[in-house]
């Protein structure tokens, strides 16, 4: 088995990227125009996530009815075929701790991003399916949900974009890790609001020396801004296309 270097002395990673390159990002919105109010599909590298947003709709049960604002629900589905090594019989059930924790985090993130008080006594349901995982799972989910919410026309303060960033040999920061790199390097996942530097979500689960934290934060903020631009471009393109097709019908 060839020993692959996470970061070669020439500055190349396993897939040929440099330390500050993100993988190819492609996204679509309005992928499910009939079955839900807003939908998106996001693919970064090999990680593929699809989100559908229903709402604002009448709450499903009385406990989800809040008088002054909307009630936000996030359902995350990570099927076993999405795992990196699909041969292992990994089952991530709906009630497993990992998924519950992620769902709670996502609700917390988006509760402050959506202008919930515009939709009293309603419910907003976000359903996310992870189709394939190759690193940056949480980031892709956050990005995908952000796009789907924009597509559904729900009022939001700004975009939220997310990326992960690791540290190699305690010296070199590496941006946008894939699965293999995540296994080896300590990394953090960060979600930023729009073009600001305000951090909405920050997760670090490995050991990282404090001195390196500043570097990593800096590069990941840049990375998030870049991803926000890419998503914004896509939304604008789709929107313009739609407006064009609508305007074509109005004959001047």
């Amino acid at each position: 088995m060839s020993r692959q270097e996470i970061y070669s002395p020439e500055g190349l990673r396993v897939d040929g990227r440099r330390w500050n390159e993100i993988r190819r990002l492609s996204c679509k919105i309005n992928t499910h125009p009939i079955s839900c109010d807003g939908s998106s599909y996001l693919q970064i590298g090999n990680t593929k996530v699809m989100t559908m947003v229903h709402g604002p709709i009448e709450p499903k049960n009385k406990s989800s009815l809040l008088q002054d604002r909307a009630y936000l629900t996030v359902n995350l589905n990570i099927p076993s075929f999405s795992f990196f090594n699909a041969t292992t019989n990994k089952k991530l059930s709906k009630n497993s701790k990992k998924i519950l924790e992620l769902q709670v985090s996502l609700v917390n993130i988006f509760q402050d991003l959506i202008i919930l008080k515009n939709y009293p006594r309603t419910q907003i349901i976000i359903n996310t399916i992870v189709l394939n995982q190759d690193g940056s799972l949480i980031s892709s989910i956050i990005n995908s949900i952000s796009l789907a919410l924009i597509d559904s026309g729900i009022s939001m303060y700004d975009y939220i974009s997310s990326v992960n960033c690791g540290l190699f040999n305690s010296k070199f920061p590496i941006l946008d890790l894939n699965y293999l790199e995540e296994l080896d390097l300590p990394f953090l996942t960060i979600a930023i609001i729009g073009k600001s530097e305000n951090v909405s979500f920050l997760l670090l689960e490995n050991n990282l020396p404090l001195d390196a934290l500043e570097k990593i934060l800096a590069i990941s903020i840049s990375g998030s801004h870049r991803i926000k631009d890419l998503m914004d471009n896509q939304v604008k393109k789709s929107s313009k296309l739609r407006i064009k097709s609508i305007n074509e019908q109005s004959i001047n």
Partner: protein
Amino acid sequence: MSSTSKQNWAISDCDAHFCDVLVMLKIFVPFHCYGWSSQKCWGAEEETAGEAGKAGEAGEAPAEATMEVLTVSKPIQNREDFDSDSDSDLDLDFASPQKQSLQNSVVTPGELVTSDPMLMRGHGTYSVGNKTYSSVAGTISRVNKLLSVIPLKSRFRPETGDHIVGRITEVGNKRWKVDIGGEQNAILLLGSVNLPGGILRRKSQNDELTMRNFLKEGDLLNCEVQMLYNDGAAGLHTRSLKYGKLRNGLLVLVPSYLIVRTKNHSFDLPGNVSIILGVNGFVWLYKTPLKTSLSSSSTLKNTNLNKFQTMLNSDSSNYTPGSTSVSITRLEEESTWEIYSDKNDPNISNNVRLNIVRYKNCLKCLSHCEIGITKSRIEHVYDISLEYENSGNLIEIEVMERIGKDVLNGEKMRGVNTSKMMSL
């Protein structure tokens, strides 16, 4: 210590409704350029000095070598630049401030719309201090001093007076909850429906307990929006003969923005089929009822007028009290238990059924091509669709697109002014 940056773009073909943006970023920074300065990390050219004011950040001096991280696209405009751009755009287009004009520029959440404090902020925006930002992805609309952003997509928002079709979801305490495809369920109070026996009939305790005999969960009805509550929910009423429970037909859901608010929403279509275009996108296709009962308000008025004329002309001795008030008598006659019956007409012929299905496919066709739905267009599409004997063929995508184009072309030929058929 210069850093070279190469930029590669790859944009795939756009298809009709959405497109992929594939962007490959490649930046080559020589290894020895790793002078870390957090300040430079933020694609330095774009951020305002204020935001990047990291003077206090660990007291680090900016290194000489700059890491131009991830700067691939065109430099993003400064907030200030954008501000002046958008303002000047607004000024240019709104030379005639009276007219409502829609800008073609698309704004996305978080984008600065204007810094002008003199404008009032409408829907789709939020303000921080003097600056107004958009909160949805949509187009800017400025009517005199009201600035709002109209989202490209939103659920149906009821307005007072809308003629809509809804489905009962819940039978509650002196009210029904009706699903109208909006953000909240609408409310239909017991006092807002016609109960058998005429409008002067008093609501009794019994009525409350037997609400299910009138309307139960799953029933479809057409009604009008009477009022809007504080939180945006609609209050409905069916206090007219043209409203009430629906029978003998098929419900079709189309996007709500394709239906225009007009004076009349119920039509008769060729083929013994009638249609009710609910403004909320719920369309009801049904067999045209026999003309003995008065189904449209215009005929009601006519007969009233005739009767009144005859009354005037006739001998005063023939006057019977209450006979001039024709409408009430009519309501009493019509408001029998039949209006809440659940039984369909047993004599619906196969022909009518096939026609209903064909009309449904026509509607699907119009909604797929995102063409505004009106009576004339439906008839037009129906005519075109008669080419296809099997109406099942109508739902193929190529067929739908072809028909859509035909409709639009046909209107162009006829010079019909179809400006702004969409109500977003």
